[in-house]
């Protein structure tokens, strides 16, 4: 039994370890180990395409995660006091957002936005008082929009689970002691759900940072790190990709372990 568990953990972590191992390989060829070196990290980090893609990924991830945490928490708090059809419709939307394959969300966002922009651009050009009216097109904003939509659903689920586990007596006690609703929220509810919001933020950032499939459709001419990696893999396995892959995995591993620890610690309190 224990042996089997060890085997499964090896199965889960060996591929990751191999990528990390070969990213430190000094040799040009991806298949033979020829001494230890950081040079591929240097190559990757001095490649302007990689740095651009990294910057796009981080900016999009941070903005999407911030918006998702804010709007998602607002919705989760409000949903506590909402029953009936509004609640049912909202639950349905969350369910659809999480269950529809990412590829369909990507496609749908692409054709809907491109069609809408085609309609809006001439109109925008007509009312723009100067020359060279701005053109709406697919790019960072559509990427942020799509990632925020999906991760907001995640934040609502996580924060709502935390709110459901919260002792109602605490908010009632606060109200009995004449605290205004806003004060109760700020002093009682918010501190209790803060770990869930933070964990939701970290998961959202990780999702956005790692997402390939939605970005592939809605990023327009922008390149995110996963898109860069995907197109490089198409051209063959290189040590540079191993280095980028190791960094991407390291970032998400660290963020995820923090998110898990926050969630679990707050659960056990």
């Amino acid at each position: 039994m224990r042996l089997y568990a060890i085997f499964v953990y090896l199965f889960l972590y060996t591929p990751i370890a191999i990528i990390a191992l070969f990213s430190f390989n000094a040799g040009r060829h991806a298949s033979q180990l020829q001494g230890f070196s950081f040079k591929w990290y240097g190559t990757a980090l001095s490649n302007p395409f990689v740095m651009d893609a990294l910057k796009t990924s981080v900016v999009v991830g941070l903005i999407a995660a911030a918006l998702a945490s804010l709007f998602g928490t607002m919705a989760a708090v409000a949903l506590q006091g909402v029953r009936g059809p509004v609640r049912a419709v909202f639950d349905m939307m969350i369910y659809v957002a999480v269950m529809i394959p990412g590829i369909v969300i990507g496609i749908a966002t692409l054709i809907a936005l491109v069609t809408a922009f085609d309609q809006l651009n001439p109109w925008l050009a007509a009312i723009w008082p100067y020359e060279n009216a701005p053109q709406l097109s697919m790019g960072k904003l559509s990427l942020i929009g799509a990632h925020t939509m999906f991760t907001m659903a995640l934040v609502i689920i996580i924060v709502r689970a935390r709110l459901a586990g919260m002792d109602r007596a605490l908010t009632e006690a606060s109200a009995d002691l004449y605290a205004a609703p806003m004060t109760t929220f700020r002093r009682v509810t918010l501190p209790l759900i803060a770990p869930a919001i933070l964990a939701g933020f970290l998961l959202s950032f990780t999702f956005s940072f790692d997402d390939f499939i939605i970005a592939f459709f809605v990023a327009g001419s922008e390149t995110t790190l996963p898109i860069y990696v995907f197109s490089s893999i198409r051209r063959g396995v290189t040590p540079e990709i191993n280095a980028i892959g190791t960094m991407v995995l390291a970032v998400s591993l660290v963020l995820l372990i923090i998110a898990q620890l926050i969630l679990r610690r707050s659960d056990s309190r």
Partner: protein
């Protein structure tokens, strides 16, 4: 401000976001699926069932998806169950959380990078090269259904372990003691007590994995090398290469319908097997 008004205000941004970025786009896909292809790609408004009539042209993609998605789901379940059992029943409290987190965490990391690792391992200089050293030559692993199945198991194992673990962890351990006190052998206890009580977790795990697999693109794209392709690969081809939006939308709508139908049938089957089904959430 009344409670009611405040709730509405708080819900407004999320509602607007869901409507603009989810409800409207999905409606557009549905509408486009009844349209026609423009001469230079894109979409021309129409009301025709022509796109749906053409679906058989992409039959291979649907067939691969409907064969490999259930196969991958079952394989992942068979591998995940013993591990979940080990974690829930045989592991001390101290180690449980850490070991569980170690299983879940890979799922949230980049599936792109993790699949890429298997190109490395299954490719010509990985396992086939090792096999050559011991005298077995001419083994081809990458770009086969086998490679895609390995990728699927690898990618989705964490998602399968978690719900099974939860259902086994909740199980009242006194039931197991009672069973053995009554003289049942360990195997009999497992088959008659543990296994039936963990069915809800197994059912949830299979459902989650199956749903995600239906829309898979990356694993077949990277490990199937164009030979083993899913509906997701057909969709990328239709929207990004041939820009046939109307037909692509029909394929997407069909994918969702097939998904809904199989999930509904599956839920029926499960609720018949197990009347006191409990939902196990993911996080």
């Amino acid at each position: 401000m009344t409670q009611r008004a405040r709730n509405w205000l708080l819900l407004t941004p999320a509602t607007a976001w869901f409507v603009i970025m989810l409800v409207l786009p999905l409606s557009v896909v549905l509408i486009f699926s009844f349209g026609e292809r423009g001469s230079g790609g894109g979409y021309v408004p129409a009301f025709t069932l022509e796109q749906y009539a053409n679906l058989p042209a992409r039959w291979a993609a649907f067939k691969n998806t409907m064969v490999l998605a259930p196969l991958g789901t079952v394989a992942a379940m068979l591998i995940a169950y013993p591990l979940a059992y080990f974690l829930a029943v045989r592991t001390s409290r101290k180690w449980k959380t850490l070991l569980l987190v170690l299983v879940i965490v890979p799922f949230w990391t980049s599936i792109l990078i993790r699949s890429y690792a298997w190109i490395f391992i299954l490719g010509g200089r990985g396992i086939p090269a090792l096999l050559e050293m011991i005298g077995i030559e001419g083994v081809r692993l990458i770009y086969t259904p086998f490679a895609v199945t390995i990728g699927i198991i690898y990618g989705y194992l964490p998602l399968m372990v978690f719900p099974i673990f939860v259902s086994l962890d909740r199980l009242d351990k006194r039931l197991l003691e009672a069973s053995s006190d009554l003289g049942a052998r360990p195997w009999a206890t497992f088959l008659q007590v543990t296994l039936p009580l963990s069915i809800p977790g197994v059912a949830t795990g299979c459902l989650l994995v199956f749903i995600l697999l239906m829309g898979e693109f990356l694993i077949p794209a990277l490990l199937g090398g164009g030979k083993v392709f899913f509906v997701g690969n057909a969709l990328v081809d239709l929207f990004l290469q041939s820009r046939n939006w109307a037909y692509g939308s029909a394929v997407a709508v069909t994918l969702i319908v097939v998904m809904l139908v199989s999930v509904t049938l599956y839920m029926r089957l499960i609720s018949r097997l197990n009347t006191q089904r409990e939902d196990v959430s993911l996080m």
